[in-house]
């Protein structure tokens, strides 16, 4: 059986999502809707047309080729409901104002692309990091790609929200060389309220990964008013101690993802948060350090 997955970007020469020089593979689709999401275009699992307004010359070429009446020059170009995903408008746009967000690839096609930087993975101790979206949404695809990476001796890492279904995912997870497991809001109600989906198996999955001795490292995005409350930090500290974890990666919130909301006409609200206040940052770090947990600062 042939699996494919929608890939919306492959960012080469990434140096901050695991060791060495890496290629970041962004897979589309995520069950969560974190209000601080850096890649709002990743949430919908389907490929779609992104619109970069500042590049548009209003030539009308896109309107002309569309057979679905899904493109208009007033307001946002693309009506995603009407769009039949033929991508004719993307080809027609000479100005790169319309771009395909999400290209459907087979595992072999994806491998061919990430293998282009194999020499650099080898010389720097780097590899491939799967991110998204939530990469485990495409777990069969991922398992196949991970097998190919293992054959090619490419180091692999995943950035996951931990929302996967254990029984279906275990085989793939065991193939990974590194697992970045994000802890966000550990209170079930808060999780559902803010992230738009249930909490269910996240803790259980964390437990299983740790007890199996898989190479998991925990991370937490630090977002004002969402994840940085005393209660939530306390809950994260408690979990890490129960799991006997010595360190956590803290990711400092930035608002660079917000510009991308407009590209897909997404409905994610803009938080209007600036840079994380440095005094507050110190006390967040302190809360972990006081509990004997080292903080690794992976500002995003």
């Amino acid at each position: 059986m042939e699996f494919t997955a929608p890939i919306f970007d492959i960012q080469r020469f990434s140096t901050h999502d695991g060791p060495g020089i890496r290629s970041l593979v962004f897979l589309k689709g995520c069950a969560l809707h974190c209000p601080w999401c850096q890649n709002p275009e990743s949430q919908d699992v389907r490929p779609l047309v992104g619109f970069y307004r500042d590049r548009c010359q209003e030539s009308g070429a896109c309107v002309e080729v569309c057979e679905d009446d899904a493109v208009r020059l007033d307001g946002f170009r693309i009506d995603h409901q009407r769009c039949s995903r033929c991508w004719l408008c993307v080809d027609a746009c000479a100005h790169d104002a319309l771009r395909l967000v999400g290209e459907t690839l087979t595992p072999e096609e994806l491998m061919a692309r990430v293998m282009k930087d194999l020499p650099y993975y080898e010389t720097s101790g780097g590899g491939v990091t799967f991110t998204g979206g939530e990469p485990t949404v495409h777990i069969e695809f991922l398992e196949r790609v991970l097998l190919l990476c293992a054959e090619a001796k490419v180091h692999t890492n995943i950035e996951t929200s931990g929302t996967f279904q254990w029984s279906r995912s275990r085989a793939a997870l065991e193939l990974l060389d590194l697992i970045y497991f994000d802890l966000k809001i550990l209170d079930p109600d808060g999780h559902r309220r803010h992230l738009g989906a249930g909490f269910e198996n996240i803790i259980e999955n964390a437990n299983k990964l740790v007890s199996l001795g898989l190479p998991v490292e925990f991370r937490m995005p630090v977002v004002s008013g969402y994840t940085d409350t005393d209660d939530n930090i306390g809950a994260v500290v408690g979990l890490l101690r129960r799991l006997d974890q010595r360190f956590i990666h803290l990711l400092e919130y930035h608002n660079m993802g917000e510009a991308k909301i407009d590209v897909i006409a997404g409905n994610q609200p803009k938080l209007g948060l600036g840079r994380y206040p440095s005094d507050r940052w110190g006390s967040v770090c302190g809360a972990f350090e006081d509990a004997g947990i080292e903080v690794l600062h992976d500002a995003r």
Partner: protein
């Protein structure tokens, strides 16, 4: 690792150096002219006349020893001086005599009275006697002058003198000038020598004596100033073998400056100093009072001396060669005879100096091979990430086989070093004229579209010859014919220049330091060296490849446009052609790991190789291609119409072998992959690839690790050379106002890398502020 800090004494000397105003060194021009005039009616052979002029100048010129100097000897009568090599291209530079002082960049002071002397008695004498003017009969003279001044198709650097070689300093410090004299004496004993050979050897002897007398004048000055340390050095230097590092550097510096006075101050290179000075270093290290810092400071003083040399370039020439280059290359590291890491303690001492003491010269070059140890490579890249772009990085595993393809002895090639900017050559015995000329490869397409001439602005008339071109293959054939035709024109001029140089302006002092010249009793300019070659550089590979990719896609594959329409767009600078321009920009460009355009880049690079490598210079040395541009990519670009690639009229061409600025959008690995796909084994005269990084992207230990991985990965795939520039805030500001030209500028946000132009203005401003705070 903490950065090494020079001593207060060294810093004081450097401060004096930096506050000295660059000035025109006119004495050489005046003395040479005096001598020439005196000899104008006699039949003195050229070698004796040139040796005599040098001796006359060294006898008469002013000398100075500055406070605190450890190494003495000045390039000119000024502390920082630009020499006018009046008998070569120097007189042409004097077109700017009244502008040197006033120009906004690279202003050069001209002493009162000097202007008048030059105008009255120097310039007029050489109008018809200088090297280029003696090279051609009258009509060709005008054609040559027009070509050089126009500088659209090529620039002949050899008109200024050949220079660009690696003097055998290893032998010099072992035998001193007395050893040189002995060699000459022995050679002169040969009864079979003809008159020319005897004259040549006699001229060499005159040079040796002139060097010794020049040094003695410095010794006397040191006695006068009560500088006992300098007197002690100059009691032995230059006659005796160097007994320690200070004597070695003093001896090398005397020859370095004298060769630059005699020949021209371009590309006189020092070779593998960490290898040939190691025995002296180890001897000193064995002494009880050894202090490694003293050695570092000594080298810092040496770097200051090298930085005193600046070229005399007119505004016109500066456009092609901006930034006051003198190309005194200094090479470290690399592999030994058996392919093992040759870096040693002295290598690391020198790396400390590069790290802690940034000077304009020398051009530092670090050789790296697969066999180089991590300790060495890491230290090199640590120094690189500190900014300043030094040292440049060279891949032993590609350069050595590429040199063997050019006939270099496989058993000697491990000992190669770099000349000038990027050119590999064998030390001790080669005279490669590695920077003979720089050739505008990209303009060939304009000439094809223009039917044999450059495209006239706004000319959209019918071009019937374009209708005949119905495939890429045909286009490439015509392009090659056209390139060959222009190469032949270049060759005719270059040959005439070479012959004129050999006939009228031999360089016996320089030749003394090149293996083969004494043995063959023949000057280097006339082919005396054991190994000869000429390097011709191509500029605009990426622009040409991008343009061909556009034509391939839009004209031949999609059939959306005709060649006539493309030519019209070039003639009109794409005005009112927004749709075409947009279509053009969507075609993948060189630098994105794209198979189609990368292959085209390789084809045009190899086409240039074919056009060049079939020729031989007048010294029986083969021509070989190089791919670097100095700043000719700007000078050439200024004279060109728009290109099918979407590069607009007058805009610069791509720098060296790099992708066009802003078109490599997938990051450094993709960009390096594209470059590494080119067949570097054919690029015998070297390449230049500049890569920019924001300082924050390569900072700290992790940053160094990443750079090590990047360089090793690029070299493992066949990359030949790279130079890492850590970008300063000024560049970020330029990127803010001109984003299209800076599309590939990678910056580190708080925790990851991004393209600067993809950031919001506020974020861009924040980064600029951040970088400013840091520096």
């Amino acid at each position: 690792m903490t950065v090494w800090c020079p001593s207060a004494e060294t810093l004081a000397v450097h401060a004096d150096h930096l506050t000295s105003q660059p000035a025109l060194g006119a004495e050489r021009a005046i003395h040479y002219t005096e001598y020439w005039k005196r000899k104008s009616n006699d039949e003195t052979p050229a070698c004796l006349r040139n040796a005599g002029a040098l001796a006359h100048h060294l006898e008469k010129r002013s000398i100075q020893i500055f406070p605190g100097e450890l190494i003495v000897g000045c390039h000119t009568e000024h502390r920082i001086g630009a020499i006018c090599h009046v008998e070569k291209a120097g007189s042409a530079m004097l077109e700017d005599l009244f502008r040197f002082e006033k120009r906004p960049v690279n202003a050069i002071r001209v002493d009162p009275g000097v202007k008048g002397t030059l105008l009255r008695s120097v310039v007029p004498y050489w109008l018809n006697r200088s090297l280029p003017m003696k090279a051609f009969p009258l009509r060709q003279k005008l054609k040559y002058a027009a070509d050089q001044l126009g500088a659209a198709h090529y620039v002949i650097n050899e008109a200024a003198g050949v220079a660009h070689f690696l003097p055998d300093y290893e032998q010099l410090i072992e035998i001193g000038t007395e050893g040189l004299r002995q060699k000459l004496d022995e050679r002169m004993d040969d009864d079979a020598l003809d008159e020319d050979a005897k004259n040549y050897l006699q001229a060499s002897l005159i040079c040796v004596e002139a060097v010794e007398r020049f040094s003695d004048r410095y010794r006397d000055e040191a006695i006068r100033q009560g500088r006992a340390d300098i007197v002690e050095v100059l009691e032995r230097v230059p006659r005796q073998p160097a007994a320690n590092l200070r004597e070695a550097l003093q001896l090398i510096w005397f020859f370095q400056l004298l060769i630059q006075i005699e020949s021209v101050d371009q590309g006189i290179s020092l070779g593998r100093v960490d290898q040939y000075l190691l025995p002296l270093y180890l001897e000193e290290k064995a002494a009880a009072d050894f202090d490694a810092d003293e050695i570092r400071n000594l080298f810092a003083h040496f770097c200051i001396k090298l930085s005193e040399v600046i070229p005399l370039f007119s505004g016109r020439v500066t456009e092609m060669f901006a930034g006051l280059p003198s190309g005194q290359a200094l090479c470290i590291g690399g592999l030994d005879e058996d392919g093992n890491d040759a870096s040693n303690e002295l290598t690391f001492v020198l790396l400390d100096v590069i790290d802690g003491f940034k000077t304009r010269q020398p051009n530092w070059h670090a050789r790296i091979g697969a066999g180089s140890g991590d300790h060495y490579v890491r230290r090199v890249l640590e120094v690189v990430s500190g900014g300043g772009g030094s040292p440049a990085l060279y891949n032993d595993d590609v350069i050595q086989p590429a040199m063997v393809e050019r006939g270099v002895d496989p058993s000697k090639v491990w000992n190669y070093a770099l000349v000038g900017c990027v050119e590999p050559a064998l030390p001790k015995e080669s005279f490669t004229s590695s920077d003979a000329a720089i050739f505008n490869l990209a303009i060939g397409l304009e000439v094809v579209l223009g039917g044999g001439q450059l495209i006239k602005k706004g000319d959209t008339s019918e071009r019937p010859w374009l209708a005949e071109i119905q495939s890429m293959e045909r286009l490439l054939e015509i392009l090659e014919d056209q390139t060959q035709e222009r190469v032949l024109k270049l060759k005719a001029s270059l040959d005439a220049i070479e012959l004129s140089g050999a006939r009228f302006f031999p360089t016996p002092l320089s030749s003394l330091t090149i293996g083969g010249c004494v043995e063959n009793a023949t000057d280097s300019t006339a082919g005396g060296a054991w190994y000869n070659a000429s390097g011709i550089q191509a500029v605009g590979v990426a622009d040409l490849a991008n343009s061909l990719a556009v034509i391939d896609e839009l004209v031949f594959r999609q059939e959306e446009y005709t060649l006539q329409e493309i030519a019209n767009a070039c003639a009109t600078d794409f005005s009112e052609q927004n749709l075409l321009l947009a279509r053009v920009r969507k075609v993948p460009k060189f630098g994105n790991d794209d198979a189609v355009v990368d292959e085209l880049a390789n084809r045009v690079a190899l086409m240039f190789d074919r056009c060049i490598s079939q020729h031989t210079n007048t010294r029986a040395g083969k021509w070989m291609p190089g791919y670097y541009s100095m700043t000719c990519h700007q000078g050439f670009g200024k004279k060109m119409a728009a290109m099918p690639s979407g590069r607009l009229a007058g805009r610069p061409l791509a720098d060296g072998l790099a992708p066009v600025d802003g078109t490599d959008r997938l990051g450094p690995t993709a960009s390096l992959n594209s470059v590494a796909k080119l067949d570097h084994l054919r690029f015998g005269n070297g390449i230049n690839l500049n890569v920019k990084f924001d300082s924050a992207a390569v900072e700290g230990e992790k940053g160094t690790d990443i750079l090590v991985g990047l360089v090793r990965g690029y070299f493992a795939q066949g990359g030949m050379q790279m130079q890492v520039n850590v970008v300063d805030p000024d560049v970020l500001e330029a990127a803010m106002s001109d984003p299209e030209s800076h599309r590939n500028l990678l910056v580190r946000i708080s925790g990851y890398c991004a393209y600067f132009v993809d950031l919001t203005p506020a974020m861009q401003q924040e980064l600029i502020d951040r970088t400013r705070q840091r520096t």
